[in-house]
């Protein structure tokens, strides 16, 4: 499980290939690859320019503002930050148990977020690679190409995404900057009209989600050699699971498994996450590398997100998704699935589960109730953990007697996956680049591995659709030999 190719022995004699930034992921990601004269790979690193400064942004603010403010940390999953912060602040107001309406409204909001995020990722960011091929014609390898060749697939992606956004709008109050969740509960429930509007479409969403699971399952069955081996590495994995061991993306306790699927810790109260997890700093990366303290830095790194969650739980508490989970586990065999492309399959199972949960909640009378907020003995410290679309999200705050935040620590999903993503790109570099001339198609293999994790490196500014890819080949003296660049409009330019 230990990392190789992290540091070359003699980097001064090697060529350097840079993929900067990685396309179809959010924010800034850069991959550097060191090659020798025979194109043999000696070092591969994924550098992530982590969103920095959010702790200072939050410190000094009144605690009740935080669930709204943190939505501005990330334009991709603001709802996840909103809910994780609200859960942490529940401890500040002493709300040990939310009202039934509050908890179910928050869950509804969360499953809306899961649905829209997973739909976007699969249908619009990854399906071009999966349906056309990793090194297919780049001019077609995008959502417009999908819309031309698979119009129904593209349309379903848009409508699933739209539906998830509508769930968020009705539960959070607004499309963005929602205020639905507050410390101790929520500030609104669903009106009958809102509930009925969502009920009109939810059955179609469940059906389409199920079709999406079948689509990606079929890909695995048709080409197991690729899907089981591409970028595959063995790793520990972690998530919260429900108190009954079932898949629960909103609340539960922390459970971790080793690379063989054996439980290494379970039932850990996430208020104590800091006793379980530490973060290592490496001098070549801005982003920290979390690890399990008990196992140390070498053996303690782990993976989070859909691939972990679907294999970490004992069951999924919705019938259609549970059937699909069992198929997934059966396909994997005795050992857990570690292949990064398995993320897509697991992600679609979660999307189906989210759709089923939304349907279930819309049929629950509590969702239109009026008992919204509770409180108790005032606290000074709180941790909120949620399974965001990309994985475990931790918010930790301390609040002083003047109600101001004095300490804030966030560990986001992409940070948990830092080492795992590095491992994936190293395996792909070994499998596909080693000894070959570098081409755009080969470099896209690296990006496919990264995209499987759906990393969100956003700091809530928008990139205006521009994600150029630039590759530079340098000799040992650092002189540029040639460049290969892909502009925002997808055109390729080669020099040298």
């Amino acid at each position: 499980m230990s990392a190789s190719l992290e540091t070359a022995v003699h980097p001064e004699n090697l060529r350097r290939v840079v993929i900067d930034p990685v396309s179809r992921v959010e924010g800034h990601g850069k991959v550097t690859i060191l090659l020798d004269d025979k194109n043999k790979v000696h070092q591969v690193r994924l550098h992530i320019v982590e969103f920095r400064g959010f702790e200072k942004f939050i410190q000094g603010r009144p605690y009740w503002e935080v669930p709204v403010m943190v939505q501005r940390l990330c334009g991709i999953c603001p709802v996840s930050h909103h809910l994780a912060a609200s859960k942490a602040m529940d401890h500040i107001v002493g709300a040990k148990h939310l009202t039934a309406t509050a908890e179910k409204m928050r869950r509804l909001m969360h499953y809306g977020q899961i649905l829209q995020s997973h739909a976007l990722h699969f249908f619009h960011l990854c399906s071009p690679d999966l349906l056309f091929g990793f090194d297919s014609d780049i001019s077609k390898r995008n959502i417009v190409g999908i819309a031309e060749k698979y119009p129904d697939t593209a349309k379903r992606g848009i409508l699933l995404r739209k539906f998830g956004q509508e769930v968020i709008r009705h539960t959070a109050g607004k499309r963005i900057h929602g205020t639905g969740a507050v410390p101790g509960g929520v500030n609104k429930s669903l009106s009958i009209a809102e509930r009925d509007e969502l009920l009109r479409d939810i059955y179609q969403m469940v059906s389409w989600s199920r079709d999406a699971v079948h689509l990606v399952k079929q890909m695995h069955h048709q080409n197991p050699e690729l899907y089981n081996s591409f970028g595959a590495f063995r790793a520990n994995y972690m998530s919260i699971v429900g108190l009954d061991g079932g898949l629960d993306l909103y609340h539960g306790h922390l459970r971790g498994r080793d690379e063989n699927g054996n439980i290494i810790f379970d039932g850990v109260d996430y208020q104590n996450y800091s006793q379980l997890i530490a973060e290592e700093v490496k001098n070549w990366s801005y982003m920290k590398f979390p690890y399990l303290k008990a196992l140390g830095t070498e053996k303690g790194w782990y993976r989070v997100g859909p691939l972990s969650r679907v294999q970490n739980c004992d069951f999924i508490p919705t019938p259609l998704a549970e059937v699909e989970r069992r198929d997934f586990i059966a396909f994997s065999g005795v050992m857990p699935m570690h292949a990064p492309l398995g993320y897509h399959w697991a992600r679609m199972i979660e999307m189906l589960h989210a759709a089923e949960m939304i349907k279930q909640l819309l049929h629950d009378d509590d969702i239109t109730g009026s008992d919204l907020i509770t409180s108790g003995e005032r606290g000074s410290e709180g941790v909120g953990v949620i399974e965001a679309p990309r994985g475990t999200l931790i918010h930790h705050y301390r609040v002083d007697e003047n109600d101001l935040v004095t300490m804030c620590n966030l560990i986001v999903s992409t940070t948990h996956n830092n080492q795992a993503m590095n491992e994936a790109v190293r395996r792909v570099a070994q499998q596909y680049l080693h000894g070959h001339e570098v081409t755009e198609g080969l470099l896209n293999h690296i990006e496919v591995a990264i995209r499987a994790f759906d990393p969100c490196l956003s700091c809530a500014t928008h990139a205006l659709g521009k994600m150029p890819l630039q590759v530079e080949l340098l000799n040992g003296a650092g002189e540029q030999l040639s460049t290969l660049s892909r502009s925002g409009d997808g055109s390729i330019c080669s020099e040298g």
């Binding site: 930034p21 396309s23 179809r24 992921v25 959010e26 924010g27 800034h28 400064g53 959010f54 200072k56 942004f57 403010m69 501005r72 334009g75 991709i76 603001p78 976007l120 619009h124 960011l125 780049i138 001019s139 077609k140 995008n142 959502i143 417009v144 190409g145 819309a147 031309e148 119009p151 593209a154 349309k155 992606g157 848009i158 995404r161 739209k162 956004q165 499309r175 963005i176 900057h177 969100c456 956003s458 700091c459 809530a460 500014t461 928008h462 990139a463 205006l464 659709g465 521009k466 994600m467 150029p468 892909r486 502009s487 925002g488 409009d489 997808g490 055109s491």
Partner: protein, 178 residues
Amino acid sequence: MVSPVLICAIGNESRGDDALGVKLLRELDAWLKAESRAEQFELLEEFQLQIEHAMDMKDRHLVLFVDAGINVAAPFLFYRAQQNDGPVLYSHALAPEALLKVYAQFYKEAPPDVYILCIRGESFELGEGLSPQADENLEAALEFGKKLAKQPQRQIWDNYCVQKPMEDFMRREDNHPA
């Protein structure tokens, strides 16, 4: 029945001048209400554009995206978005031009007339307010926005457009911090 004109501001108000679009939208909203012109317009705030925003454009007469940008002369640039006929790369966020293409694919019809008001920003740091220069640019852009709102007609808006927008300036790497 949707309002004939959609004005969508893109940006994060907690990141310095990235708030330009949102601030303009809110000022414009107040002005439209005071002038009893609000019923013609729907105003949206978004962090970033995504595929489902194509659905917000359906049945509109005019669509205006208001955003901050770096690589544009002060105080602002106003131009018409052209559907990109070439391949478009996609991330978690889309350019307005890419949205036109998504619209055309989704609805199998030509998208509405879409314009972009890009206001020059200087600093995009988390937790910062508007820079003094951006404040000035906002003032000028707001007056221009009011002018557009008084005459929400394609021919008139076309006359205000720069003849040819800076080549692909919206997609240049240094145009906007990610």
